[in-house]
Amino acid sequence: MEFDLLINAIIAGLMLGGFYAAVTAGISISFGMLDIVNIAHPGFIILGSYIAYIVNAHFGVDPIVIAIVALPAFYALGSLIYQVYYQSFEKHGQDSLRGLAFFFGLLFVTEVSLNLIFGVDYRSVDVPYIGGSVSIGAMEFPVRMLVPCLVSLAMFGGLQLFMSRTFIGRAVMAVSQDPPALQLMAVDPIRIKRIAFSISIATASMAGAFLIIIQPVIPSAGREYIGRVFAICVLGGLGSLPGTLIAALMIGVIESITSTFYGPSWSPAVSFGLLLLTLAVRPSGLFGR
């Protein structure tokens, strides 16, 4: 039955990877494209999880619907944070140390605030499909993994379309790759960066909902995602959405196999180890130039 175990581990890993793609999308935009090291991003994802939790607990609405409704609020939060970041740090250039400390502070404050409001107990949502699963032969697809994965892939596709097809999307790509081109397009780079950063925070709303569908959440859960998202982002080549997706699926599969065959307590070390290795050997990522 080793073989079945392996197949199911790979399937679970691919679904997990689809979810990781959503978690990383925001970092891929803010860090990869805008060069803003938003290490607080996982904190906002957990915030999204708790919003989904609290609305779901009171009104029984599906977390994904809640996340979509909450998108504008997250977008606005993103604009606000970018404004503060720009005014305090980016405008003066160079001082990356304080910018990092700023986001670290945000991460920490988010976590502690959630801790104070909700306590350290695990919280989960109540959705009819959580227990179900679809089986094809020996292959099994738990619905609580399948739904986030599919919605995540759809979101990822949407983002990629937005970046490659719309004027603003192309301007965002220009911000990261070719600043002079941006001037030729006659757009204000600050406005473009604010929009892009806001979108990156908005993805946290979705990722948060996915997370709490997949597993119960505690305030400190964000931390274990920091290494993972940066590992995926760097592995995928900074700022490349397709690269990010492939890297996310890869990490998902590797983690899933590790936890199936060596036990779940080792799986965090996998992505972090890969990150350290990537940084040391090939910082431009697997798919970078």
């Binding site: 090291v37 502070g105 404050v109 080792w266 965090p268 972090f272 910082p283």
Partner: protein
């Protein structure tokens, strides 16, 4: 001021503090004081790399935990000498074990410094941001290893049983407090020596502009490695007495995020460009947290630290020391 005079003054202050605490005669005071002193060492250590060189280390908790688990490791070895070494070695080993705490502290410093060297070698060639992210990852990898390493207790944790009475000092906590005072003196002296030496000038050029530093002949990679090793070693040393202090160590307490947060927040709030900043920040924040833990909850005081960190990086980038310097300069101008 010459370094020997500086050390002398620190020693006098430290001794006075110890005597004053002893006269009050409350163990609680020593317990609380120990924590504040530990933060002074951590903040000063962080600042050598973070403040002087501008390389943000989010992995303070990891280096601290290396120190903690060095002690736990040697304690575990001492407990099971007859199980793990060949028979002819048991008797000599029993003579040197349990290792005295000062020896453990030095060993912990060496181990943490060595880990810092390895990590720095892998990541310091990259942009500062990548180094910062790597340090975040490093902590989790390390914690995963500890959780899975049953010899040092794994996820269950380990009990450290030590006599509550120590010769000369009386209560164990008084001995630990005195040790931590010595570490504070070591950390502050190191930090101040670096700041005023050629090394400190080199560190500042790295913080200001690495390309220009190289063009001026500064061997930036080597200097960054020196900073990482010194900083990591001091953090490890701060962690070594912790198992004796707390009695029961589990990964969650050794890798506590509050070490990472405080060792960044304290220098940032105090001021990062001189040895005084982390000291001021640690005294202020450390004491505040000790008071707040008693009066409010520990979660609230961590929230306060986080908010203060954000507030200071935005409003007062040069910290309290910077604010005072500005005021002093403003007054001398007018």
């Amino acid at each position: 001021m010459r370094t020997p005079a500086f050390i002398l003054i620190l020693t006098v202050v430290a001794a006075a503090l110890y005597v004053a605490f002893d006269m009050v005669g409350s163990d609680y005071l020593f317990f609380a004081g120990y924590t504040v002193l530990q933060y002074i060492v951590l903040a000063t250590a962080w600042n050598i790399l973070g403040g002087y060189c501008g390389y943000v280390n989010f992995g303070s908790a990891g280096f601290f935990a290396i120190g903690v688990y060095t002690t736990v490791f040697f304690y575990a070895v001492g407990q099971r000498i007859d199980e793990i070494v060949p028979e002819f070695l048991v008797a000599p080993m029993q003579l040197i074990f349990p290792l005295p705490l000062p020896v453990l502290i030095v060993t912990a410093g060496a181990v943490a410094g060595f880990v810092g060297l390895g990590m720095g070698y892998l990541t310091l060639r990259l942009r500062g941001v990548f180094f910062a992210i790597a340090t975040l990852a490093f902590t989790v990898v390390l914690e995963t290893f500890i959780v899975n390493w049953s010899f040092v207790g794994g996820s269950r944790g380990a009990y450290i049983i030590v006599p509550n009475e120590v010769p000369v000092f009386g209560h164990l906590i008084q001995f630990l407090f005195a040790l931590m005072l010595v570490l504070v003196i070591v950390a502050l002296t190191t930090s101040r020596l670096i700041e005023r030496s050629k090394l400190g000038v080199g560190f500042a050029t790295i913080r200001d502009d690495e390309l220009a530093a190289e063009a001026s002949g500064v061997p930036t990679l080597r200097l960054k490695l020196v900073a990482t090793v010194v900083s990591g070693a001091l953090m490890g040393m701060a962690g070594a007495p912790f198992p004796y202090y707390i009695g029961y160590v589990e990964p969650g307490s050794a890798f506590n995020l509050s070490y990472a947060v405080n060792s960044i927040a304290m220098p940032m709030i105090g001021g990062t460009t001189s040895w005084v900043g982390p000291l001021v920040g640690a005294l202020l924040l450390g004491t505040l947290q000790q008071v707040a833990t008693v009066t409010i909850s520990s979660a609230v005081n961590l929230l306060i630290v986080g908010l203060l960190l954000i507030f200071f990086v935005i409003i007062a980038p040069r910290g309290i020391v910077g604010l005072i310097q500005d005021r002093w300069r403003g007054r001398s101008k007018s």
